[in-house]
Symmetry: C2
Subunit: 244 residues, 2 copies
DNA sequence: CAGTGGTCTAGACCACTGG
DNA sequence: CAGTGGTCTAGACCACTGC
């Protein structure tokens, strides 16, 4: 066993090392990481210790175990849940009844971060950010209006064309084109009335109550990488949440 | 090791046995369960196997581990989070700035279950249920209006007086007085406008958008035991959610 | 069949709690 | 100090995958 640099359980240190490799891109989303036995040999610890480290990574959805095959870097694409962070489901409860969302990019431009956006993204006011506005519709009914802000530097080269041309979840584009993996997010939810522009885009009156969902998504080490403000219509869909 | 009755991992069987004892009330909320070594001896398995079973129970918040002291049956009282299933927090983010909620029982009566209530509680339409309406206020501002339905049989003897006189979370009353522990819940969230009665109780206009939160809470073995329909004001509070 | 993750064991030792 | 949960090891065997 290796010496103890700081004081924390060995498996936590192993977990941190694996996270480091993950962040450095040593293994890419969808790819397998080395087997437990290999990792145990590399880190000079027992397989059980590596196992416990990977257990935690799997519990945090950072990695996915598949018996008989290996352990894989989690990804927002290929995942049987199409949108991992979207909790709006049709009232029917049938997740597939909607089919794929029809996506429309309304706007996409670079600008300087306002104070609130900067704070959410751990930037300074005035730093370059990318702002995107889009609408998701199901069966022709506009249901979600999203404004999102991304830090300019990591997302250099992202344009409306890249967004429009991309098949699949936006987060999977972030992964493959910019190496940014969203790992965790927190949401603040309110009930609001839309302004005129919002109402028009969602094709509702401005007296229609909507769900306001403000999400901050983080990559590794809790670094915030996206601020997203969504307006959800809840006449045919609802926000579903599980409490443990 | 004991023989294998059905085919599932040993630790899953142990987990089921512990759950059974928990449900039977062998150990009550807040009390310690036997030590891992004792349980290992009782079930004739190794400590590691008991450990894995308890690990899962702890992950599901059914049990709480405390190093050096033991493993305890989780409870909705005594918990440092006062309301485990209430995700509405003040915008300040300071969970304590509100202080304890001021609770008012508006109504409490027994009646026959309507079809939707019966379905949610796995009862038959017309079965006896208890209906409660109450308001929670913070700093004198009514913020939450809740209607809740409980199956009549397990909650025989529950009256408005019992509710009014109880200090602490309602779920902890359910635990100590009726032996019903809520273990898991699911919520459906929408944005709505209140009707006249609702608006009056929350002291808002009927054009004020509110969060509608429908919760079904389950006890052991996923048995639904409560239907709760809440209306939340989100002008000073918001619903906070973590996504993994 | 070999290689992967999944289960189970037995035992050693550590860290924390309380009397 | 004894008793608890927490970590770590080494090794055996099982279950699943794909060649």
């Amino acid at each position: 066993m290796s010496p103890t640099p700081s004081f924390s359980p060995l498996y936590q240190q192993i977990k941190a090392l694996i996270l480091q490799s993950l962040q450095a891109g040593e293994w890419k989303p969808g790819e397998p990481i080395p087997s437990e036995i290999e990792l145990a040999a590399r880190f000079r610890v027992s397989q059980g210790t590596v196992r416990k480290a990977i257990d935690e990574l799997a519990a945090e959805n950072i990695v996915v175990r598949r018996q008989g095959k290996g352990t894989f870097v989690a990804t927002h694409a290929e995942q049987h849940v199409q949108y991992r962070f979207l909790k709006l489901v049709p009232d029917s409860g049938d997740l597939d009844s909607d089919g794929p969302a029809e996506r429309t990019i309304v706007d996409c431009k670079r600008l300087r971060a306002a104070a609130d956006v900067a704070r959410a993204l751990s930037l300074r006011t005035g730093d370059a950010v990318l702002q995107v506005r889009r609408v998701l519709a199901y069966h022709g009914v506009p249901t979600i209006l999203e404004d999102l802000w991304l830090p300019g530097t990591p997302f250099k080269g992202l344009t409306a064309e890249r967004l429009t041309g991309w098949r699949g979840p936006m987060y999977s584009l972030f992964e493959t084109e910019f190496g940014v993996r969203m790992v965790r997010a927190e949401e603040k939810i309110r009930a609001v009335l839309p302004d005129t522009a919002q109402a028009a885009l969602l094709q509702v009156t401005n007296a229609t109550p909507l769900l306001s969902v403000e999400r901050v998504a983080h990559t590794y080490h809790d670094t915030p990488m996206e601020l997203r403000r969504g307006l959800y219509r809840t006449d045919t869909h609802h926000y579903r949440n599980e409490l443990g």
